[in-house]
Amino acid sequence: MHPDDLLKFSLADFTYNDSPNVMDPPQDFERWVGDPRIGMAMSFFEQPLQGAPTPRMTLRQGMSGENRQMINLTSYNYLGLSTHPEVVAAAVEALQTYGLGASGAAMLSGTFDQHQRFAEELAAFKGREACLLFPSGYAGNLGAIQGLLQRGDVLVIDSKCHRSVVDGAKLSGAKMVSFEHNNPASLDQMLERHAGKRRLVVVEGVYSMDGDIAELPDILDVCESHDVPLYIDEAHSSLVFGETGKGLVEHFGVEDRVGVDFGTLSKSFGGIGGFVCGDANLIQYIKCYASPFQFSCALPPAVVAAMRKALEVATRDNSLREKLWKNVNHFRSNLEALNLDLGGSRSQVIPIIVGSSGEELIQLAMAAQQRGLFLQPIDFPAVEAHARRFRISVSSQLTPEDIDEAATIIEDVIARPLGLVGAA
Protein backbone atom coordinates (compact mmCIF):
# COMPACT_ATOMS: atom_id res chain seq x y z
CA MET A 1 0.00 0.00 0.00
CA HIS A 2 1.61 3.25 -1.15
CA PRO A 3 1.41 6.16 1.36
CA ASP A 4 -0.35 8.26 -1.28
CA ASP A 5 -3.07 5.61 -1.51
CA LEU A 6 -3.69 5.26 2.22
CA LEU A 7 -6.64 7.64 2.21
CA LYS A 8 -8.41 5.62 -0.46
CA PHE A 9 -8.73 2.76 1.99
CA SER A 10 -11.32 2.43 4.74
CA LEU A 11 -12.45 0.06 7.45
CA ALA A 12 -14.13 -1.94 4.68
CA ASP A 13 -10.74 -3.00 3.34
CA PHE A 14 -9.37 -4.95 6.29
CA THR A 15 -12.16 -7.39 7.15
CA TYR A 16 -10.16 -10.24 5.61
CA ASN A 17 -7.07 -10.97 7.72
CA ASP A 18 -4.25 -12.30 5.54
CA SER A 19 -1.83 -12.83 8.45
CA PRO A 20 -0.85 -16.47 9.12
CA ASN A 21 -1.25 -15.93 12.87
CA VAL A 22 -4.75 -15.01 14.09
CA MET A 23 -3.14 -12.88 16.81
CA ASP A 24 -1.73 -10.52 14.19
CA PRO A 25 -4.01 -7.97 12.51
CA PRO A 26 -3.79 -7.72 8.70
CA GLN A 27 -0.35 -6.64 7.51
CA ASP A 28 -1.43 -3.28 6.11
CA PHE A 29 -3.90 -2.44 8.87
CA GLU A 30 -1.32 -1.22 11.37
CA ARG A 31 0.32 1.04 8.80
CA TRP A 32 -3.05 2.38 7.69
CA VAL A 33 -4.42 3.02 11.16
CA GLY A 34 -1.10 4.52 12.29
CA ASP A 35 -1.16 7.19 9.59
CA PRO A 36 -1.84 10.60 11.20
CA ARG A 37 -4.53 11.42 8.63
CA ILE A 38 -6.40 8.21 9.43
CA GLY A 39 -5.74 8.87 13.11
CA MET A 40 -7.53 12.19 12.74
CA ALA A 41 -10.60 10.43 11.33
CA MET A 42 -10.47 7.74 14.02
CA SER A 43 -10.24 10.42 16.73
CA PHE A 44 -13.99 11.04 16.28
CA PHE A 45 -14.75 7.54 17.57
CA GLU A 46 -15.46 6.97 21.27
CA GLN A 47 -15.01 10.56 22.39
CA PRO A 48 -16.15 10.40 26.03
CA LEU A 49 -19.04 12.59 27.15
CA GLN A 50 -18.29 14.08 30.55
CA GLY A 51 -21.92 14.34 31.62
CA ALA A 52 -25.51 13.71 30.55
CA PRO A 53 -26.38 13.67 26.80
CA THR A 54 -28.16 17.03 26.95
CA PRO A 55 -28.00 19.74 24.25
CA ARG A 56 -25.19 21.55 26.06
CA MET A 57 -22.65 19.05 27.32
CA THR A 58 -18.93 18.60 27.85
CA LEU A 59 -16.96 16.32 25.57
CA ARG A 60 -13.37 15.17 25.84
CA GLN A 61 -12.19 15.76 22.30
CA GLY A 62 -10.41 12.89 20.60
CA MET A 63 -7.73 14.93 18.85
CA SER A 64 -6.75 17.41 21.56
CA GLY A 65 -7.70 15.33 24.61
CA GLU A 66 -9.21 18.50 26.08
CA ASN A 67 -12.66 18.93 27.56
CA ARG A 68 -14.92 21.36 25.79
CA GLN A 69 -18.49 22.57 26.12
CA MET A 70 -20.40 21.57 22.99
CA ILE A 71 -23.83 21.78 21.39
CA ASN A 72 -24.86 18.14 21.13
CA LEU A 73 -26.35 17.22 17.74
CA THR A 74 -25.43 13.55 17.91
CA SER A 75 -27.10 11.78 20.87
CA TYR A 76 -30.31 9.81 20.19
CA ASN A 77 -32.02 11.44 23.16
CA TYR A 78 -34.82 12.61 20.85
CA LEU A 79 -37.38 13.38 23.57
CA GLY A 80 -34.90 14.18 26.34
CA LEU A 81 -36.18 11.26 28.38
CA SER A 82 -32.72 10.01 29.32
CA THR A 83 -32.41 13.02 31.61
CA HIS A 84 -36.07 13.73 32.36
CA PRO A 85 -36.37 14.40 36.13
CA GLU A 86 -39.25 11.94 36.58
CA VAL A 87 -37.37 9.22 34.69
CA VAL A 88 -34.18 9.74 36.68
CA ALA A 89 -36.16 9.74 39.94
CA ALA A 90 -37.81 6.44 38.96
CA ALA A 91 -34.39 4.95 38.28
CA VAL A 92 -33.00 6.12 41.63
CA GLU A 93 -35.99 4.74 43.52
CA ALA A 94 -35.83 1.39 41.73
CA LEU A 95 -32.10 1.18 42.24
CA GLN A 96 -32.69 1.37 46.00
CA THR A 97 -35.24 -1.43 45.77
CA TYR A 98 -33.71 -3.82 43.22
CA GLY A 99 -29.96 -3.16 43.29
CA LEU A 100 -27.82 -2.79 40.20
CA GLY A 101 -28.13 -5.78 37.89
CA ALA A 102 -30.70 -8.46 37.06
CA SER A 103 -28.23 -11.18 38.10
CA GLY A 104 -29.60 -13.73 35.67
CA ALA A 105 -31.02 -14.61 32.28
CA ALA A 106 -34.69 -13.68 31.89
CA MET A 107 -35.87 -17.33 31.68
CA LEU A 108 -34.30 -18.25 35.03
CA SER A 109 -33.81 -15.47 37.56
CA GLY A 110 -33.49 -12.24 35.57
CA THR A 111 -37.21 -11.43 35.19
CA PHE A 112 -38.48 -8.99 37.81
CA ASP A 113 -41.96 -7.56 38.25
CA GLN A 114 -40.66 -4.45 36.46
CA HIS A 115 -39.83 -6.45 33.31
CA GLN A 116 -43.23 -8.14 33.23
CA ARG A 117 -45.13 -4.90 33.70
CA PHE A 118 -43.05 -3.05 31.12
CA ALA A 119 -43.57 -5.80 28.53
CA GLU A 120 -47.33 -5.63 29.15
CA GLU A 121 -47.30 -1.83 28.92
CA LEU A 122 -45.29 -1.86 25.69
CA ALA A 123 -47.64 -4.43 24.14
CA ALA A 124 -50.63 -2.29 25.11
CA PHE A 125 -48.93 0.86 23.78
CA LYS A 126 -48.28 -0.81 20.43
CA GLY A 127 -51.75 -2.41 20.37
CA ARG A 128 -50.32 -5.95 20.29
CA GLU A 129 -51.02 -9.07 22.29
CA ALA A 130 -47.52 -9.58 23.67
CA CYS A 131 -44.03 -8.14 23.88
CA LEU A 132 -40.59 -9.60 24.52
CA LEU A 133 -37.70 -7.53 25.92
CA PHE A 134 -34.10 -7.91 24.77
CA PRO A 135 -30.91 -6.58 26.37
CA SER A 136 -30.13 -4.32 23.41
CA GLY A 137 -31.61 -3.24 20.10
CA TYR A 138 -28.97 -5.21 18.24
CA ALA A 139 -29.75 -8.32 20.29
CA GLY A 140 -33.44 -7.80 19.65
CA ASN A 141 -33.29 -7.87 15.88
CA LEU A 142 -30.75 -10.65 16.01
CA GLY A 143 -32.92 -12.76 18.30
CA ALA A 144 -36.31 -12.04 16.78
CA ILE A 145 -35.13 -12.88 13.26
CA GLN A 146 -33.34 -15.97 14.49
CA GLY A 147 -36.53 -17.02 16.25
CA LEU A 148 -38.67 -16.45 13.17
CA LEU A 149 -36.54 -17.93 10.40
CA GLN A 150 -34.56 -21.05 9.66
CA ARG A 151 -32.39 -22.58 6.96
CA GLY A 152 -34.36 -22.74 3.71
CA ASP A 153 -36.29 -19.52 4.44
CA VAL A 154 -35.66 -16.22 2.67
CA LEU A 155 -35.31 -12.87 4.45
CA VAL A 156 -36.04 -9.99 2.07
CA ILE A 157 -34.70 -6.74 3.48
CA ASP A 158 -34.54 -3.13 2.36
CA SER A 159 -30.97 -2.47 1.22
CA LYS A 160 -30.56 0.16 3.95
CA CYS A 161 -31.58 -2.06 6.87
CA HIS A 162 -29.42 -2.07 9.98
CA ARG A 163 -26.57 -4.51 10.53
CA SER A 164 -28.53 -6.24 13.30
CA VAL A 165 -31.06 -7.39 10.68
CA VAL A 166 -28.29 -8.72 8.44
CA ASP A 167 -26.65 -10.55 11.33
CA GLY A 168 -30.05 -11.95 12.36
CA ALA A 169 -30.29 -13.53 8.92
CA LYS A 170 -26.82 -15.01 9.32
CA LEU A 171 -27.65 -16.45 12.72
CA SER A 172 -30.94 -17.92 11.51
CA GLY A 173 -29.36 -19.69 8.53
CA ALA A 174 -31.97 -18.17 6.20
CA LYS A 175 -30.93 -16.82 2.82
CA MET A 176 -30.87 -13.03 2.82
CA VAL A 177 -31.61 -10.91 -0.22
CA SER A 178 -32.16 -7.18 -0.43
CA PHE A 179 -34.41 -4.98 -2.53
CA GLU A 180 -33.63 -1.45 -3.66
CA HIS A 181 -34.22 1.07 -0.94
CA ASN A 182 -37.91 1.91 -0.56
CA ASN A 183 -38.67 0.50 -4.03
CA PRO A 184 -41.89 -1.58 -4.13
CA ALA A 185 -41.18 -2.82 -7.70
CA SER A 186 -37.80 -4.16 -6.61
CA LEU A 187 -39.42 -5.80 -3.58
CA ASP A 188 -42.02 -7.39 -5.84
CA GLN A 189 -39.25 -8.78 -8.05
CA MET A 190 -37.39 -10.28 -5.08
CA LEU A 191 -40.51 -11.88 -3.64
CA GLU A 192 -41.40 -13.30 -7.05
CA ARG A 193 -37.90 -14.71 -7.48
CA HIS A 194 -38.18 -16.61 -4.21
CA ALA A 195 -41.80 -17.67 -4.57
CA GLY A 196 -42.59 -20.98 -2.89
CA LYS A 197 -40.21 -20.34 0.00
CA ARG A 198 -41.16 -19.17 3.47
CA ARG A 199 -40.36 -15.46 3.27
CA LEU A 200 -40.27 -12.45 5.59
CA VAL A 201 -39.85 -8.81 4.58
CA VAL A 202 -38.03 -6.37 6.88
CA VAL A 203 -38.11 -2.59 6.63
CA GLU A 204 -37.32 0.21 9.05
CA GLY A 205 -39.62 3.02 10.10
CA VAL A 206 -36.96 5.73 9.92
CA TYR A 207 -33.69 4.81 8.21
CA SER A 208 -30.94 5.78 10.59
CA MET A 209 -28.38 7.19 8.16
CA ASP A 210 -30.82 9.02 5.88
CA GLY A 211 -33.73 10.00 8.08
CA ASP A 212 -36.19 9.01 5.38
CA ILE A 213 -39.17 6.79 6.13
CA ALA A 214 -40.48 3.51 4.76
CA GLU A 215 -43.21 3.90 2.15
CA LEU A 216 -45.33 1.49 4.15
CA PRO A 217 -48.64 1.47 2.24
CA ASP A 218 -46.95 0.62 -1.08
CA ILE A 219 -44.62 -1.92 0.53
CA LEU A 220 -47.52 -3.57 2.34
CA ASP A 221 -49.50 -3.81 -0.91
CA VAL A 222 -46.63 -5.79 -2.43
CA CYS A 223 -46.20 -7.99 0.66
CA GLU A 224 -49.90 -8.78 0.73
CA SER A 225 -49.98 -9.61 -2.98
CA HIS A 226 -47.40 -12.32 -2.22
CA ASP A 227 -48.97 -13.27 1.12
CA VAL A 228 -45.69 -12.50 2.91
CA PRO A 229 -45.63 -10.89 6.38
CA LEU A 230 -43.89 -7.60 7.13
CA TYR A 231 -41.53 -7.01 10.07
CA ILE A 232 -40.94 -3.33 10.84
CA ASP A 233 -38.04 -2.00 12.88
CA GLU A 234 -39.29 1.19 14.51
CA ALA A 235 -36.02 1.91 16.36
CA HIS A 236 -36.00 5.59 15.42
CA SER A 237 -39.73 6.10 14.83
CA SER A 238 -41.27 4.77 18.07
CA LEU A 239 -42.53 7.64 20.27
CA VAL A 240 -41.77 10.05 17.39
CA PHE A 241 -44.26 9.20 14.62
CA GLY A 242 -48.02 8.73 14.87
CA GLU A 243 -50.67 10.65 16.74
CA THR A 244 -49.92 8.84 20.00
CA GLY A 245 -46.29 7.93 19.22
CA LYS A 246 -46.85 4.31 18.22
CA GLY A 247 -44.61 4.83 15.26
CA LEU A 248 -44.79 4.81 11.49
CA VAL A 249 -47.52 2.14 11.47
CA GLU A 250 -49.77 4.63 13.25
CA HIS A 251 -48.62 7.50 11.02
CA PHE A 252 -49.88 5.54 8.00
CA GLY A 253 -52.78 3.85 9.84
CA VAL A 254 -51.56 0.36 8.94
CA GLU A 255 -51.22 -1.18 12.42
CA ASP A 256 -53.35 -4.20 11.49
CA ARG A 257 -51.34 -5.00 8.38
CA VAL A 258 -47.90 -5.39 9.99
CA GLY A 259 -46.92 -8.81 11.36
CA VAL A 260 -44.07 -7.99 13.73
CA ASP A 261 -43.43 -4.62 15.35
CA PHE A 262 -39.90 -4.13 16.64
CA GLY A 263 -38.47 -1.21 18.59
CA THR A 264 -35.47 -0.14 20.59
CA LEU A 265 -35.32 1.53 23.97
CA SER A 266 -32.07 3.44 23.52
CA LYS A 267 -33.41 6.22 21.30
CA SER A 268 -36.58 8.06 22.32
CA PHE A 269 -37.04 5.94 25.44
CA GLY A 270 -33.69 7.18 26.71
CA GLY A 271 -32.57 3.83 28.12
CA ILE A 272 -31.33 0.63 26.54
CA GLY A 273 -32.82 -2.55 25.11
CA GLY A 274 -34.92 -3.87 22.28
CA PHE A 275 -38.49 -5.15 22.17
CA VAL A 276 -40.55 -7.14 19.75
CA CYS A 277 -44.35 -7.07 19.71
CA GLY A 278 -46.80 -9.39 17.97
CA ASP A 279 -49.34 -12.15 18.51
CA ALA A 280 -48.98 -13.91 21.87
CA ASN A 281 -48.27 -17.35 20.43
CA LEU A 282 -45.61 -15.94 18.10
CA ILE A 283 -43.87 -14.05 20.91
CA GLN A 284 -43.97 -17.18 23.07
CA TYR A 285 -42.32 -19.12 20.23
CA ILE A 286 -39.61 -16.49 19.57
CA LYS A 287 -38.87 -16.43 23.29
CA CYS A 288 -37.97 -20.12 23.22
CA TYR A 289 -35.56 -19.91 20.28
CA ALA A 290 -33.95 -16.46 20.36
CA SER A 291 -30.42 -17.00 21.65
CA PRO A 292 -29.73 -13.33 22.50
CA PHE A 293 -32.76 -13.45 24.80
CA GLN A 294 -32.04 -16.85 26.31
CA PHE A 295 -28.32 -16.44 26.81
CA SER A 296 -28.03 -12.81 27.94
CA CYS A 297 -28.54 -11.35 31.35
CA ALA A 298 -31.85 -9.48 31.50
CA LEU A 299 -31.99 -5.68 31.51
CA PRO A 300 -31.18 -4.03 34.86
CA PRO A 301 -34.50 -3.69 36.73
CA ALA A 302 -33.85 -0.05 37.66
CA VAL A 303 -33.37 0.82 33.98
CA VAL A 304 -36.62 -0.98 33.16
CA ALA A 305 -38.44 0.92 35.91
CA ALA A 306 -37.11 4.18 34.50
CA MET A 307 -38.17 3.27 30.96
CA ARG A 308 -41.67 2.50 32.25
CA LYS A 309 -41.72 6.08 33.53
CA ALA A 310 -40.34 7.27 30.19
CA LEU A 311 -43.20 5.56 28.36
CA GLU A 312 -45.70 7.15 30.75
CA VAL A 313 -44.18 10.63 30.34
CA ALA A 314 -44.05 10.31 26.55
CA THR A 315 -47.62 9.11 26.16
CA ARG A 316 -49.60 11.01 28.78
CA ASP A 317 -49.76 13.88 26.32
CA ASN A 318 -48.10 14.92 23.06
CA SER A 319 -46.05 17.82 24.44
CA LEU A 320 -42.58 16.29 24.00
CA ARG A 321 -43.40 15.01 20.52
CA GLU A 322 -44.78 18.38 19.50
CA LYS A 323 -41.67 20.13 20.82
CA LEU A 324 -39.47 17.69 18.90
CA TRP A 325 -41.31 18.29 15.61
CA LYS A 326 -41.22 22.04 16.16
CA ASN A 327 -37.44 21.76 16.58
CA VAL A 328 -37.14 19.51 13.52
CA ASN A 329 -39.00 22.05 11.38
CA HIS A 330 -37.00 24.97 12.79
CA PHE A 331 -33.68 23.19 12.20
CA ARG A 332 -34.69 22.03 8.72
CA SER A 333 -35.66 25.50 7.58
CA ASN A 334 -32.31 26.84 8.81
CA LEU A 335 -30.43 24.11 6.96
CA GLU A 336 -32.48 24.45 3.76
CA ALA A 337 -31.65 28.16 3.73
CA LEU A 338 -27.98 27.12 3.54
CA ASN A 339 -28.64 25.04 0.40
CA LEU A 340 -27.31 21.91 2.11
CA ASP A 341 -28.10 18.47 0.70
CA LEU A 342 -30.39 16.91 3.31
CA GLY A 343 -31.17 13.81 1.23
CA GLY A 344 -34.69 12.49 1.62
CA SER A 345 -34.98 13.15 5.35
CA ARG A 346 -38.51 13.37 6.70
CA SER A 347 -37.74 12.86 10.36
CA GLN A 348 -35.70 14.02 13.34
CA VAL A 349 -32.65 12.37 11.72
CA ILE A 350 -31.24 14.91 9.27
CA PRO A 351 -28.15 14.12 7.20
CA ILE A 352 -25.95 16.78 5.68
CA ILE A 353 -24.53 15.02 2.63
CA VAL A 354 -21.09 16.34 1.77
CA GLY A 355 -19.93 14.13 -1.11
CA SER A 356 -17.27 11.63 -2.05
CA SER A 357 -14.17 12.98 -0.34
CA GLY A 358 -13.47 11.37 3.02
CA GLU A 359 -10.61 13.81 3.59
CA GLU A 360 -12.90 16.81 3.11
CA LEU A 361 -15.50 15.30 5.43
CA ILE A 362 -12.96 14.93 8.22
CA GLN A 363 -11.59 18.45 7.69
CA LEU A 364 -15.09 19.87 7.95
CA ALA A 365 -15.74 17.73 11.02
CA MET A 366 -12.59 19.04 12.70
CA ALA A 367 -13.68 22.61 12.02
CA ALA A 368 -17.17 21.91 13.40
CA GLN A 369 -15.71 20.40 16.55
CA GLN A 370 -13.33 23.32 17.02
CA ARG A 371 -16.33 25.64 16.90
CA GLY A 372 -18.10 23.61 19.59
CA LEU A 373 -20.44 21.34 17.64
CA PHE A 374 -20.70 17.69 18.61
CA LEU A 375 -21.66 16.62 15.09
CA GLN A 376 -20.30 13.25 14.02
CA PRO A 377 -19.04 12.61 10.49
CA ILE A 378 -20.43 9.42 8.92
CA ASP A 379 -17.90 7.97 6.54
CA PHE A 380 -17.78 5.02 4.11
CA PRO A 381 -18.54 2.11 4.63
CA ALA A 382 -21.31 3.19 7.03
CA VAL A 383 -22.77 5.13 4.08
CA GLU A 384 -22.12 5.05 0.33
CA ALA A 385 -18.70 6.37 -0.72
CA HIS A 386 -20.27 9.06 -2.91
CA ALA A 387 -22.53 10.33 -0.13
CA ARG A 388 -20.39 10.82 2.97
CA ARG A 389 -22.15 12.99 5.47
CA PHE A 390 -22.86 14.44 8.85
CA ARG A 391 -25.92 13.29 10.73
CA ILE A 392 -27.96 15.50 13.01
CA SER A 393 -30.17 13.93 15.67
CA VAL A 394 -32.66 16.62 16.67
CA SER A 395 -33.82 16.60 20.28
CA SER A 396 -36.88 18.15 21.87
CA GLN A 397 -34.51 19.58 24.48
CA LEU A 398 -32.80 21.96 22.03
CA THR A 399 -33.85 25.57 22.50
CA PRO A 400 -34.45 27.84 19.49
CA GLU A 401 -31.22 29.59 20.49
CA ASP A 402 -29.31 26.28 20.45
CA ILE A 403 -30.63 25.54 16.97
CA ASP A 404 -29.84 29.01 15.60
CA GLU A 405 -26.33 28.94 17.06
CA ALA A 406 -25.71 25.44 15.66
CA ALA A 407 -26.99 26.52 12.24
CA THR A 408 -24.68 29.56 12.26
CA ILE A 409 -21.70 27.31 12.97
CA ILE A 410 -22.82 24.89 10.23
CA GLU A 411 -23.05 27.82 7.84
CA ASP A 412 -19.51 28.94 8.70
CA VAL A 413 -17.75 25.59 8.78
CA ILE A 414 -19.72 23.46 6.29
CA ALA A 415 -21.92 25.47 3.94
CA ARG A 416 -19.37 28.22 3.16
CA PRO A 417 -16.39 25.91 2.58
CA LEU A 418 -18.61 23.82 0.28
CA GLY A 419 -19.46 26.97 -1.66
CA LEU A 420 -23.17 26.68 -0.94
CA VAL A 421 -23.53 30.17 0.56
CA GLY A 422 -21.55 33.39 0.25
CA ALA A 423 -17.76 33.44 0.03
CA ALA A 424 -15.71 30.70 1.69
Binding site: K8, K175, S178, P381
Partner: protein
Amino acid sequence: MSKAMDKKEVIEIIKKNLKENLHDVDVDAIEPTSSMRDHGANSLDMIEVVSATMRELEIRVPRSELSQIENIEQLAEKFIEYL
Protein backbone atom coordinates in the same frame (compact mmCIF):
# COMPACT_ATOMS: atom_id res chain seq x y z
CA MET B 1 -0.58 -13.70 -10.81
CA SER B 2 0.29 -12.73 -14.37
CA LYS B 3 -0.12 -9.08 -15.24
CA ALA B 4 -0.92 -10.12 -18.78
CA MET B 5 -4.31 -11.38 -17.68
CA ASP B 6 -7.12 -10.05 -19.84
CA LYS B 7 -10.65 -9.06 -19.00
CA LYS B 8 -12.11 -12.39 -20.03
CA GLU B 9 -9.84 -14.27 -17.66
CA VAL B 10 -10.66 -11.93 -14.77
CA ILE B 11 -14.37 -12.35 -15.47
CA GLU B 12 -13.92 -16.13 -15.32
CA ILE B 13 -12.32 -15.84 -11.87
CA ILE B 14 -15.18 -13.64 -10.65
CA LYS B 15 -17.71 -16.16 -12.04
CA LYS B 16 -15.91 -19.06 -10.36
CA ASN B 17 -15.94 -17.26 -7.01
CA LEU B 18 -19.59 -16.34 -7.46
CA LYS B 19 -20.39 -20.01 -8.01
CA GLU B 20 -18.40 -20.96 -4.89
CA ASN B 21 -20.37 -18.52 -2.77
CA LEU B 22 -23.85 -18.99 -4.19
CA HIS B 23 -23.75 -22.72 -5.03
CA ASP B 24 -27.01 -22.76 -7.01
CA VAL B 25 -25.89 -20.38 -9.76
CA ASP B 26 -25.28 -21.61 -13.32
CA VAL B 27 -21.85 -20.24 -14.31
CA ASP B 28 -22.57 -20.55 -18.03
CA ALA B 29 -25.64 -18.35 -17.62
CA ILE B 30 -23.70 -15.45 -16.08
CA GLU B 31 -23.46 -12.58 -18.53
CA PRO B 32 -20.66 -10.04 -17.91
CA THR B 33 -23.24 -7.28 -18.16
CA SER B 34 -25.27 -8.73 -15.30
CA SER B 35 -24.72 -7.83 -11.67
CA MET B 36 -24.00 -10.32 -8.91
CA ARG B 37 -27.29 -9.23 -7.36
CA ASP B 38 -29.08 -10.47 -10.49
CA HIS B 39 -27.86 -13.96 -9.58
CA GLY B 40 -29.14 -13.77 -6.02
CA ALA B 41 -26.02 -12.43 -4.29
CA ASN B 42 -26.59 -10.27 -1.23
CA SER B 43 -24.17 -7.65 0.10
CA LEU B 44 -22.29 -10.22 2.19
CA ASP B 45 -21.94 -12.60 -0.76
CA MET B 46 -20.55 -9.76 -2.88
CA ILE B 47 -17.96 -8.89 -0.24
CA GLU B 48 -16.83 -12.53 -0.25
CA VAL B 49 -16.63 -12.76 -4.05
CA VAL B 50 -14.67 -9.50 -4.30
CA SER B 51 -12.30 -10.53 -1.48
CA ALA B 52 -11.64 -13.98 -2.94
CA THR B 53 -11.04 -12.56 -6.42
CA MET B 54 -8.65 -9.88 -5.16
CA ARG B 55 -6.69 -12.51 -3.23
CA GLU B 56 -6.45 -14.66 -6.32
CA LEU B 57 -5.30 -11.70 -8.42
CA GLU B 58 -2.97 -10.53 -5.64
CA ILE B 59 -4.32 -7.00 -5.76
CA ARG B 60 -5.91 -4.65 -3.22
CA VAL B 61 -8.58 -2.34 -4.58
CA PRO B 62 -10.12 0.15 -2.12
CA ARG B 63 -13.75 -0.85 -1.51
CA SER B 64 -14.77 2.76 -1.80
CA GLU B 65 -13.93 2.53 -5.51
CA LEU B 66 -16.30 -0.38 -5.99
CA SER B 67 -19.45 1.11 -4.54
CA GLN B 68 -20.86 2.41 -7.83
CA ILE B 69 -19.88 -0.52 -10.01
CA GLU B 70 -22.98 -1.96 -11.62
CA ASN B 71 -21.97 -5.24 -13.24
CA ILE B 72 -19.36 -7.99 -13.45
CA GLU B 73 -17.64 -6.53 -16.50
CA GLN B 74 -17.11 -3.17 -14.78
CA LEU B 75 -15.74 -5.00 -11.75
CA ALA B 76 -13.24 -6.88 -13.94
CA GLU B 77 -12.17 -3.61 -15.57
CA LYS B 78 -11.57 -2.05 -12.16
CA PHE B 79 -9.49 -5.07 -11.09
CA ILE B 80 -7.41 -4.87 -14.28
CA GLU B 81 -6.47 -1.26 -13.38
CA TYR B 82 -4.70 -2.69 -10.34
CA LEU B 83 -2.96 -5.67 -12.00
